[in-house]
Symmetry: C2
Subunit: 356 residues, 2 copies
């Protein structure tokens, strides 16, 4: 492969100098883009789209055609692993992801095994290869997975939950069962991310969407612990290039020092953290990714610029910052406002980087 034309994202993750702060956006390929909705209509359902490498490639590239983003992220779902385990992922309209066969019985949990990515998640790996080819070395491609605990939430609850009553009852009553699920999930995620790296992913990210619903003690025991195992098991280099890893626990601001210590290269921040304070807390151990409130994008362009300026100023001078939202972009966002955001980051961040 030819060298990357724009490697600012990878360099920032490794805390190397860049001329400006790179930016990408969680859920940048998604429903706020008319062209995404058009592809989805052609594909049929969300799963028909996600499971077809041609469509996945097409929608992964759509936001890059519109905005000068510094990274692409594989279009996929965080729940591909439990689906490959046979739990039957489906999407009820307006209700988010659900499983037809959530884990209810001890024997079901004992029978759980980590899927072989090359066999059961072939469609994801094919998409990675195809997207890398289509990107033509313009920007790097991010692979990803849900965290073991976040996957377990859906596997046990059967879908989203407002209180996580079922999984927390298990956590407090039968921690041995939950640890068994998490152990299988951690092995599955490690193999899955390594397979994505093998197929061409140049950085990987673990989305711990629900770790922030745990008590501090439970977070460390049931979520962070298993993410650390994954990080330890990841391939660190491919084709002579370091493959950086990003760990993002939504609502994990209280535990940043601990997250930064598990061996990842970067920590994702939601919008409730002050990124300057976060930087002071983690020191030079990791890069930080984030963290504009996604709702900022509903304001007028001048206000979006002002909020971008605030995040950049809070992070301050120097390297190690990847700009992003603090959570996925809302489906109701106007694409022109994303344009304003990306421009503002590129434009305003130069003042915080040394001239080359």
């Amino acid at each position: 492969m030819s060298p990357l034309k724009n490697d600012t994202f990878l360099r920032a993750l490794l805390r190397q100098p860049t001329p400006y702060t790179p930016v990408w956006i969680m859920r940048q390929a998604g429903r706020y883009l008319p062209e995404y909705n058009e592809t989805r209509r052609r594909a049929g359902s969300f799963l028909d789209l996600a499971k077809n490498p041609d469509y996945a490639t097409e929608v992964t590239l759509q936001p890059l055609a519109r905005f000068p983003l510094d990274a692409a992220i594989l279009f996929s779902d965080i729940l591909t692993i439990p689906d490959a385990m046979g739990l039957g992922l489906y999407f009820a309209e307006g209700e988010g992801p659900k499983f037809e066969r959530p884990l209810r019985e001890e024997w079901e949990i004992r029978n759980l095994s980590a899927p072989d990515p090359g066999e059961h998640l072939r469609y994801v790996l094919d998409a990675v290869t195809q997207i890398r080819h289509a990107l033509d070395s313009d920007v790097p491609l991010i692979g990803f997975s849900g965290s073991p605990y976040t996957l377990a939430c859906y596997m046990v609850e059967g879908g989203a939950s407002s209180d996580f009553r079922t999984i927390k009852t298990m956590l407090y009553n039968r921690p041995d069962l939950l640890h068994h699920i998490l152990d299988v999930n951690a092995r599955a995620v490690t193999a899955y991310l390594n397979a994505q790296i093998e197929a061409g992913a140049q950085a990987v990210m673990i989305f711990d969407t629900w770790g922030g619903s745990l008590s501090a003690a439970a977070y460390h025991e049931f979520s962070l612990n298993y993410m650390q195992r994954i990080i330890t098991g990841l391939v660190r280099e491919r084709d002579g290039a370091r493959v950086p890893s990003i760990v993002f626990t939504k609502g994990g601001g209280l535990w940043l020092e601990n997250i930064a210590a598990i061996g990842c290269d970067a920590v994702g921040l939601d919008w409730t953290c002050d990124i300057g304070q976060a930087r002071a807390r983690v020191g030079t151990s990791v890069a930080l990714q984030g963290n504009l409130d996604p709702m900022t994008l509903f304001a007028q362009p001048e206000h979006i610029r002002a909020e971008v300026a605030r995040v950049l100023a809070s992070y301050g001078q120097g390297n190690g910052h990847v700009f992003n939202l603090g959570h996925g972009v809302s489906q109701f966002t106007r694409p022109e406002h994303v344009s304003t955001l990306v421009e503002a980051v590129h434009d305003l961040s130069r003042a915080y980087h040394l001239p080359p």
Copy 2:
């Protein structure tokens, strides 16, 4: 009035010695109690119950008849103030609180005014007086209100929201309008809490349920700032006794030092904070209230005791801790498990207090 028979709650809030750690439970009068559901059936709707001082007194006392709790809390709703402003509070079955006339137009916002509690919230003050009488000085009575920002969320969104898109669009686009609402709310809450104190409330608590959805900068400007104004305006003594104040921002763990600095006597913690770390951060400036994960109560009694022991051990030796859940008790909780919790706190906490 005769002196309180059990003043451990008030003493703990003021960081004075107590023989054990006092405990009460957010939403302790509520749907998990069969006797509450029975009263509600008699009353008709939730609002018929909350607006009738006889019923409100009856349900406030129900948990105290079952459990040896160290405080009572006024049975009411956090949204009484916007209801008294004329927004039309109602409850759609299974959907939470809603307003018939949310604030949509600038002129509606400009016309907003703080209700006179003696006139428009008489039913609440009557309930306070009646509950104090019925409590017969057994334990103190807590009065409360929603925070200005949390009230504004419901007033602008018209109900609960998963992303707070409407109020955040206002926050980023028209901060002047939101500040106007918050200014009116802060004056309304101050007058309301002072009227509750006048009617007999012996401690007051501000519930900032949604402050944790804000960015760090916006939290300080739009939520904490207005809670500070309230605290500054509160009556501090009644009948020669100090009336302590508690501020609780759910999801506010990152901002504890700042919350502790606004002049309140105690800070409420949700379950994501480690209470020992929180104590180290706020020092001796305030008492702490919390913070068991409410989902712990779905575990078997021995596990509930173990989790209670963990919170007590994390807080450690000495005064200034009021035990509570980190959020309201779930309606699906078994009352016997609340019994286990209260007993465990009283029993296990003696080791952390000096013998008298």
